[in-house]
C-alpha cells in the first residue's frame, strides 16, 4: 500500500466499509482501553453498537468527507473516528443534559440547546430525516452519492438549507445534526486513542501534539524550538 496514492487509499477504505461485515467484535462491556486495542486494527472488523447498518454507512460516508484522506495527514476513516462516535453514543454521551420540560424549541440561539432530544435521538432521527431528504432530491442514499454531491449536501446542512420538516422532523434542524457530527468527528480525530479514534495517534503526530507526555519542565523556556518527541497515549503507546 505504500505506493498507493492518497485518492486510491481513500477509495479503498470507504469501499471496503460500505459493505458491512455481518460478523464483528462487540465492544460493549469491555474497558475503554481493551476496546481501543481491539478496535485499533481495522474499521472493517468493527460492528457498531449504537448505529444500525444503514446509519453506520451514513456515518462512514460523512466522516470521510468531514476529515477526508485527501491531501496531507490522516483522514477520519483511517483513524477510526466512526468507532469513536459509535462508542460515545453507545455510552453515556448526553446523559448529563438537563431534559426536563417545558421546551421552547423556538428560543433564541443565545439561550443554547432547548430541544427535547438526547444526543442519541439527534443522530437517530436526524440521519433518518437526512436520508429521506437525499432520497427525495437524488433518489439515493447519502453514502452512494458522488463525492461532490456528498460535500454539497453537507454544505447545505451546515448552511441550514436542508429541510428536515418535510421528512418527519419539524423541530430538529439539519444544521444541528451537522454541527454535532462535525464536533464529534473532530473530537474523535484528536482525542486519546483510548476512546477508539485517533488510531495510532496519527492525528497528534500530524499536528505535532505530544499527547499525554504532560511534563515539560526542561522545555518550557526553550522558545521557538520545535519539540522533538512524538506523542504518548494514556495507555503508554508511543507514536
Amino acid at each position: 500500500m505504500l505506493i498507493a496514492t492518497q485518492t486510491s487509499r481513500r477509495k479503498f477504505l470507504l469501499s471496503s466499509l460500505i459493505a458491512l461485515p455481518a460478523m464483528g467484535i462487540a465492544l460493549n462491556g469491555l474497558s475503554a482501553a481493551a476496546a481501543a486495542e481491539l478496535a485499533a486494527p481495522s474499521l472493517d472488523s468493527y460492528s457498531p453498537i449504537f448505529f444500525t447498518a444503514a446509519e453506520w454507512t451514513f456515518i462512514l460516508a460523512a466522516c470521510d468527507r468531514l476529515i477526508p484522506a485527501d491531501g496531507r495527514g490522516p483522514g477520519a476513516l483511517e483513524t477510526n473516528v466512526p468507532i469513536f462516535i459509535d462508542q460515545q453514543l453507545a455510552g453515556d454521551l448526553g446523559s448529563e443534559v438537563y431534559l426536563e420540560g417545558p421546551f421552547d424549541v423556538n428560543a433564541p440561539a443565545t439561550l443554547g440547546y432547548q430541544l427535547p432530544f438526547t444526543a442519541q435521538q439527534i443522530y437517530r432521527q436526524g440521519i433518518a430525516a437526512l436520508e429521506g431528504w437525499c432520497q427525495a432530491k437524488y433518489g439515493q442514499y447519502f453514502a452512494l452519492l458522488s463525492l461532490s454531491d456528498r460535500e454539497q449536501v453537507l454544505k447545505q446542512m451546515q448552511n441550514g438549507q436542508v429541510d428536515f420538516a418535510a421528512h418527519g422532523e419539524p423541530v430538529l434542524k439539519a444544521k444541528l445534526l451537522f454541527s454535532e457530527l462535525l464536533n464529534i468527528t473532530r473530537q474523535g480525530w484528536l482525542a486519546d486513542p483510548i476512546y477508539g479514534g485517533n488510531k495510532g495517534m496519527k492525528a497528534w503526530i500530524a499536528i505535532g501534539f505530544p499527547g499525554a507526555r504532560a511534563s515539560y519542565l526542561e522545555w518550557v523556556a526553550q522558545h521557538n524550538v520545535p519539540y522533538p518527541l512524538g506523542p504518548v497515549s494514556l495507555t503508554g503507546q508511543r507514536g
Binding site: L66, D104, T110, R186, A214, S215, A221
Partner: protein
Amino acid sequence: MPNITNDEVDVVVVGLGWAGSLMSIELAQAGLKVRALERGEDRSNADFTYPKPADQYAYGVRNKIMVTPKDGALTVRHNMQSTALPTRQWGAFVPGTGVGGSGLHWTGVLIRPTPTDIKLKTYADQAYKPGVLGEGMQIQDYPFTWEEIEPYLDKFDKICGLSGNTGNLQGRIVEGGDPFEGPRSSPFPLPALEDTLNNTMFAEAARKLGYHPFPNPSANVSRAWKNPYGNQIAPCNYCGYCSKYPCLNYSKASPQTAVMDSLKRMDNFDYRTNANVLRVELHADGKTAKGVTYADGQGNEVFQPAKIVVLAGFQFVNVRLMLLSGIGQPYSPLTGKGTIGRNYAFLSVGGSTLFFKDKTFNPFATAGATGQMFNDISPGNFDGPALGVIGGAKIHSSQATGTPIGTALPAGTPEWGQGWKEGMQDWYGHSMKVSISTGCMSYREHYLDLDPTYKDPWGQPLLRITFDWKPNELKLQQHLRGIVGDITKELNPDSVSESYLDMDSHWDITKYVSTHNVGGAIMGDSPETSALNRYLQSWDVHNVFVPGGNAFPQNFQANPTALIGALTLFAAQAIKDQYLKNPGPLVQA
C-alpha cells in the same frame, strides 16, 4: 420530612471547595466540631495520578469533574419580560462539584483586586459627573478597608504558594511586578513561573507601548512550597493540563493540595459526600438556624443539627439555599427591596488570536496560569471618566493549554474537509492570544431568584438568572479592542482573528466566558442593600455565614479566588474571636 437525624455538631459547612475547606480548618483548629457536607463525590490526590488527568476528551470536553446540567442547571433570561429557559448544556460557565469544588479545576490565576476595586462606589462618586454612568447601576463598596483585608489576602497567598513578581511592597513600587497593585505586607512567597514565548513577545510589545506587564500571579507553584497548614505543594512541571483538570503533579494549590490533608487528620472534623443540602432549617422565630437538611445518596433526607451553619457552596448554590430556606428577603427589582438575589454580575472576555507561520509556541508546555498581563486599564488608572465607562480589564497573553480539540485556525480556513485537516497541521502551535477579561457592574434589573417552572432532580426550583450586557460593559469592550489592536500591530502577525462583543450584543450562554459568577448575596454596610455584613454573616439569621463569590457587590477585572479566600479567612477569624464568645449579630444594623 427528614427520616434520619445526625449527631449535633458545632459547625456544619455546606460545600467543600476553597471556602468550605478554609472555613473548616480554621474553625476546627479553634477546637470546634466541624462537619462538611459535599453534594458531589469524594476526590483525593490519588484519583489524579499521572496520566489520568492528561485526557482532554474526558476533562476538557466531557467535563468529567464538573456538576452535570442535569443536577446543577439554572435558568437564564435576558430581561424581566421574558421567560427563562434552563441551561440544558453548559456554555458560558461550568460550575464544579465534589470535594475541592471549583478549587480543584481552576486555572490558578491568583490576583488581588486593587484598593480602588473594593471602594468602587466611593471612587465613582468622586471621579464621575452625575449622569455619566448608566441608569440603574447599583455598585457598592466592600464593607472593609484595604488595611483590614490585606492580612487575609496575604495569608491566602501563603496558603497557595503564590508565585510571581511583587509590585508594591508596603507602598514601595518594585520593578517587574504590578505597579497598580495595593500595598502588600510581604512579597510574593515564590518567584514567577517560567515565561513562554507568547509571554515574552506580549510583554515586550506592551512595555514598548507604555504599559506595565508582569507575570500572571500563579497558584501553580514555581518551587516546592510548604504552606502554613503544613501541606506541601510540588513545583509545577508545565504539564499543559490545568484549567478544567485536576493537577497530576500536586502543583496547583487546591483544597486537596493546600488544606485537605491537614484537615482530614483532625479528629474534630469529618465530611460526608453525596450529601446534597436541600435547605437550612430555622428556629420558629426565624432568627437562628438549627441545622440543615440534606439528601444522601441512598434516598434519605437527613437532618444535621448545628450551632453554626456555613454556606460555602458555589455562588449560585449559596444564593439558592438562602432563597429556599427563607433566610432574608428575596430581592425585587421592581421595588428595589429585599436583598437575596440582588446585584448578580458576571464578566466579559474577548481577544485576538495572532498567527505566526515561523514561530513555534509549543503550547502544550505550559502551566495553567502561564501568561503576562497588565493592569493599566483598571479603575482609577485610565481615562474611564472621560470615556464614560467604569470598571476595567486585565489585558493579557495567557497560554493555559495546548490541548488540540478546539484549536483556533486563521480566518478563512475551512471548518471541515481537506482544508481544515491541513490547516490543523499548518497552524497548530503557531498562534498566541492577546485577551481581555473585564469587570462587570451590578444593575438594578440583574438579579437571581427561584424559577417558577423548572425543578432539579430533588424537586426544588432552579435558580433563575436575569442578566444581559449593558452599554457600560460593551463600551469598555470597544475601548479594549483598540488597545489590543495596537499591541497586535506591534507584534506584526501573519494574520489575526478577533472576538469581541459589539454594542448590540446579548449575553450568549453557549460561548464559554469564565465561571466567575458573582453577587446575589452580597456583603455591605446596610441590611437594606446587602444580604451579609462585613463578616459574611447573614443580617437576618445570625448563625448563618455565607463565604463565596456571592458576596461581591460587583465584579472587578481580577480573578475572584484571591478575594474569596481572604473573605473566608476574615470571616473565620471573626467567628473565632467574636462570635463564639458572644453569639449574635457581629454588626449592629
